[in-house]
């Protein structure tokens, strides 16, 4: 469990970091919190030639709340989100979801950018990003670009990031007052990757009907995704018992084609579980 040998770079600017990545043509790896990368290295599942540490790159660790929403720098840690004064009001779903990330010690080190780049199918941050229509900003040699979270993840542990690109931050759209939301996940032990999870929010129209529903799921498919079929069931209706049941059923059906099983749980179980979690999330949705 000793790390393989690699070069270590600790650039002072983003431009320099990006240049090192470009120079190594895919052999370099960015390290931010190291909470996924270090175990991967210890198990020798990856052997990058150089690690590019972002610790000296300024400005990546900020949380900014504006009328455009919440912006999290790539090096913002989970504990920063948990302890931030304004975030609980500015984006309660984000704060609640992040409280499920691993354990205390890991939340002190793990970062937003690291989780997005690692793209674990069951990780909370990618799921929240997709559920909330977040936008991920990345910087490469050719410049910067914005990628919609829905387009960012293209498989298990896989994203559309080019090898010379670094995630610089993520923006969650502004959170209107009165929005209903819930986060539900099911894990064997507290802090484990979830067997399945749901992040959802919806607004209420003047008649008390749900609208603008967003339902994102983690842990069931190769990457986080929104369940538009469930959103359609919810939109335009009052959230009460029958609707909750219909949405749960729709959720299980929606993931049927893509749900994957593994040694811990069959596809059949996960499919049923996602329905249960949608049901519970809707039933517990709060302002």
């Amino acid at each position: 469990m000793k790390l393989p040998s690699f070069e270590y770079a600790c650039p002072a600017t983003l431009a320099e970091a990006v240049r090192i990545l470009a120079d190594h043509e895919g052999e370099a790896k960015v390290i931010s919190g190291g909470q996924s990368l270090m175990p991967v290295l210890a198990f020798r599942l990856a052997a990058p030639s150089v690690l590019v540490d972002l610790r000296n790159v300024p400005g990546l660790d900020r949380i900014t709340i504006t009328e455009n929403g919440v912006h999290l720098g790539a090096r913002v840690r989970w504990c920063d989100i948990e302890s931030h004064d304004g975030l609980r009001k500015a984006h309660p779903l984000l704060v609640q979801g992040i409280s499920h990330v691993a354990h205390y010690q890991i939340r002190n080190r793990g970062t937003v950018g690291g989780s997005l780049a690692h793209a674990d199918p069951a990780a909370e941050m990618p799921g929240l990003a997709v559920a909330c229509d977040a936008e991920i900003s990345v910087q490469g040699v050719a410049g910067s670009r914005l990628i919609k979270a829905a387009d960012f993840f293209d498989g298990a542990l896989s994203t559309v990031l080019e090898f010379d690109e670094i995630i610089t931050g993520i923006r969650f759209p502004a959170w209107p007052s009165g929005r209903r939301w819930a986060f539900e996940e099911f894990a064997r032990r507290r802090g484990d990757f979830a067997m399945a999870g749901v992040a959802l929010h919806f607004d209420l129209d003047a008649a008390g009907r749900a609208c603008n529903a967003h339902v994102g799921v983690i842990g069931v498919c190769s990457h986080p995704c929104r369940l538009t079929a469930v959103e359609e069931v919810i939109n335009g209706n009052v959230v009460e018992e029958d609707l909750v049941a219909a949405a749960a059923k729709a959720a299980s059906e929606a993931v049927a084609a893509d749900v994957t099983g593994d040694m811990h749980a069959s596809a059949e179980y996960r499919q049923a579980l996602i329905g249960v979690l949608v049901e519970r999330a809707l039933a517990h949705a709060q302002v």
Partner: protein
């Protein structure tokens, strides 16, 4: 006025562990804390193929890596590779299945040592592993013990079979019992593969002194004397030329301290290179290299009268042994056979346990070996039977517990390597009654099978016995030091169970001195002539009894020495506060007498076992939609005869219960069809964490002292884990009784519970 003379009363008091001051201050010394000048670090290349023929091993690139000192493969270990003998219950017929210390022609499990790298650092050694190219031609792998017997593929060709042995436990006339029975039921159960994960993985540091031709091995644990014997034989040394040194140990649980391949490879490498060599197991290695345990399929049949009286029990168990029979591998299977009856009066018994070889990591003992499995089979079966017969399941147990007036009560006899044992003392009804009372069984019974806030509630109960105190003997040597302190040397080992504290309590009470003046030296082969170690909950029962008896001898010696000084008879001499001896108004300081070699040694020999016993009960809530089982309350009652230290015992019992809950609900070593371990990290092999099972209560009783040792104590380290599988499974069954869900297999993971419920609801046969 003479001050009141207060006899010491450490034994039975909740004395805080004397080990903790050292450990909590970071002053413990574990084997990886040690280093030596010129140290080489070993790393072991392990087979990544479950079953295969070694065609070639290319080591040149590894040797070329700067910092690599040597790369050893089978031919480097001499003309014939040593095999590891069975420590417990050896038989010539088992020898073909013993493990060679390194693979030479065949590999038989993923994790089997293939090559050893010695390098200037552990990191370089690991780098070098990636530069060794072992070409292994794969053979079909056997991963299912129940299918190993068909003989299509043989692990050891020369043996002609994959069934290494079969143990039988017999009592009475089982055929007749079944013929005459009014009721019989046959069931199949399965306990899954899981094992112990001590906080500290294994480790060894070996140093060879060329001048004196002596070897010192640090990191010894559990059974240092037995391991020294094995190592001496393998290395062609006299036992006296090897010192096995016990360091602080981060947990044992049965798996640490047995003789593993590394216990030869590392010392051998030290002698070969003339440099000290250290090897520290990492967590990934631990999961494939250290003994696995528990994987048993069992078919069992019970015969009863309609009133619930059990007449007979028969069955066959198939124990998945993995690829080799290790030092204590046969204990689990023979215990499954013998202890399937538990604390119940079952007059006719015929249970066999077959040892099936498979291409998986070899198995060994894990806390409560065979008993955890057997208790799951039995207690689960009892609940089914009670329901069939329309008898309350508590009443069914009451009617069948061995009555106190039949104790000593002989258990079924195991063959081969004949094993006879008998319950020593006990009021089995009393612990059951206390358990029911403490958990509030009668009040909570109404909750069973009821849906409350979306979860079904259920209660489970199970009775058990815990064997302990195995012989043959243990020796203690007590020495009065020049400064008046007492040194106590014992041959038992500390594996994190608080041995130093317990031994110090016993010595201090026996000699009537403050504990602070007692020093305990244990484990290492340098302290006493022989020692039998710490397993089968024997360290305190056997070692403690030896201390108690040696203390009497020491007192006599001190009085004699004092009498000589004072010119009186020993009968007149009195020891005062362990500082002086007085007689007739004169006195002599103990420190002065210490010059006369005040030493006493005593060996306590005993072949009779102790049997702690009791009952556990649990209250669970089952979420029918996720299959999640929450343990709302867990209650353990155990009579240990005499608790040396109720505080440490309490901690041990809670720890054992959590370990049992982990094995019942979380932990599972899962293999794929090619014999690859899928749960190769602690992300996938799920240990319980400190927050998972907060609701555990333990009641320790001292109703019936053991008549087989002078302390009256019974082995008590394992009782916490033994009944857990059966009790939790029974509680889940009770919770889901409206659907007639009957768990027959562990672990009760959420997907398994969910699937059982789904099948039951769909009306299929469960």
């Amino acid at each position: 006025m003479t001050p009141m003379h207060v006899l010491n009363s450490y034994v039975g008091s909740p004395v805080e562990r004397i080990e903790d001051l050292r450990l909590l201050r970071g002053k413990g010394q574990f084997v990886d804390d040690l280093t030596r000048e010129g140290l080489l670090h070993a790393a072991i290349l392990r087979s990544n193929v479950a079953h295969g023929r070694i065609l070639s091993i290319e080591t040149r690139d590894a040797l070329d890596l700067p910092g690599v000192h040597a790369v050893l493969t089978a031919p480097d270990f001499g003309p014939s590779v040593p095999v590891i003998p069975l420590r417990l219950m050896p038989m010539p017929s088992l020898e073909p299945f013993a493990q060679p210390v390194i693979a030479s022609d065949k590999v038989r499990y993923v994790g089997e040592p293939v090559a050893v790298v010695l390098a200037e650092s552990a990191a370089i050694a690991e780098d070098a592993l990636e530069l060794i190219y072992a070409e292994i031609e794969p053979l079909p792998a056997i991963v299912d013990g129940t299918k190993a017997g068909d003989g299509q593929v043989l692990l050891v060709e020369s043996s002609g079979t994959n069934e290494a042995a079969q143990y039988s436990a017999l009592l009475g006339d089982v055929e007749r019992a079944f013929q005459e029975a009014e009721y019989v039921r046959r069931e199949k159960f399965r306990v899954h593969r899981h094992t112990a994960l001590p906080m500290e993985p294994r480790g060894i540091l070996a140093e060879w002194d060329q001048e004196s031709e002596r070897l010192v091995v640090w990191g010894a644990a559990k059974v240092p004397f037995a391991n020294r014997r094995i190592l001496a034989q393998q290395m062609g040394l006299a036992e006296e030329d090897i010192d096995m040194i016990e360091n602080d140990v981060g947990g044992g649980f049965g798996v640490r301290g047995e003789f593993y391949p590394e216990d030869f490879l590392v010392p051998f490498a030290a002698r070969l290179t003339g440099r000290p060599v250290k090897w520290i197991e990492d967590r990934r290695e631990h999961l494939i290299a250290t003994n696995h345990a528990r994987e048993v399929d069992c078919e069992v049949e019970i015969a009863c009268r309609k009133d619930g009286t059990i007449l007979g029990l028969r069955g066959s168990a198939f124990v998945d042994m993995g690829a080799y029979l290790r030092t204590n591998g046969v204990i689990g299977p023979r215990n499954v056979a013998q202890f399937l009856v538990g604390p119940y009066l079952i007059p006719n018994v015929a249970v066999t346990a077959s040892l099936m070889m498979t291409n998986k990591t070899p198995v060994g003992t894990y806390r409560g070996p065979g008993r955890y499995e057997a208790d799951f089979f039995r207690e689960r079966l009892f609940d089914m039977v009670a329901r069939d017969l329309g008898i309350d399941r508590v009443e069914f147990r009451r009617r069948n517990l061995v009555p106190e007036d039949m104790i000593p009560y002989a258990l079924p006899t195991v063959t081969p390597v004949e094993g006879r044992t008998q319950f020593d003392s006990g009021d089995y009804q009393a612990t059951l009654a206390r358990c029911l009372e403490e958990i509030g069984w009668d009040e909570k019974a109404a909750l069973q099978g009821r849906l409350i806030d979306g979860r079904y509630h259920g209660l489970g109960i199970g009775c058990f016995v815990e064997g302990g105190g195995t012989g043959p003997r243990e020796t203690a040597r007590l020495v009065v030091e020049a400064d008046g302190t007492l040194s106590v040397f014992v041959g038992t080992s500390a594996v994190g169970q608080g041995l130093e504290t317990a031994c110090a309590q016993i010595a201090a009470d026996a000699l009537e001195v403050p504990m602070e003046r007692v020093r305990i030296y244990h484990g290492s082969t340098t302290y006493v002539r022989e020692g039998f170690g710490s397993f089968h909950s024997r360290a305190v029962v056997m070692g403690g009894s030896a201390i108690q008896l040696a203390a009497e001898a020491l007192k006599e010696k001190v009085r004699e020495a004092g009498a000589r000084h004072l010119g009186c008879s020993p009968d007149e001499a009195r020891i005062v506060d362990w500082t002086a001896v007085t007689a007739g108004g004169k006195s002599v300081e103990l420190a002065e007498l210490a010059a006369e070699d005040l030493t006493a040694e005593h060996t306590f020999a005993n072949t009779k076992h102790t049997y702690s016993y009791g009952a556990h009960a649990a209250h669970v809530a089952v979420d029918p939609k996720t299959g999640a089982v929450e343990v709302l309350d867990y209650l353990a009652v155990e009579d240990v005869g005499r608790a040396i230290n109720p505080l440490t015992l309490h901690g041990q019992t809670i720890g054992a219960i959590v370990q049992g809950l982990g094995g019942t609900l979380l932990e599972h070593l899962i293999y794929d069809e090619n014999g690859q371990l899928l749960t190769g990290s602690l992300a996938d092999y799920m240990m319980p964490t400190a927050s998972d099972y907060p609701n555990i209560r333990v009641v320790t009783l001292q109703l019936r002292p053991s008549p087989v040792n002078p302390l009256g104590a019974k082995g008590a380290g394992e009782g916490g884990i033994i009944p857990v599988g059966g009790v939790i499974a029974n509680a889940v069954a009770a919770a889901l009784a409206p659907f007639d869900v009957q768990p027959r297999e562990l672990p009760l993971s959420p997907p398994r519970v969910w699937a059982m419920l789904k099948t039951a609801r769909e009306g299929a046969i469960v």
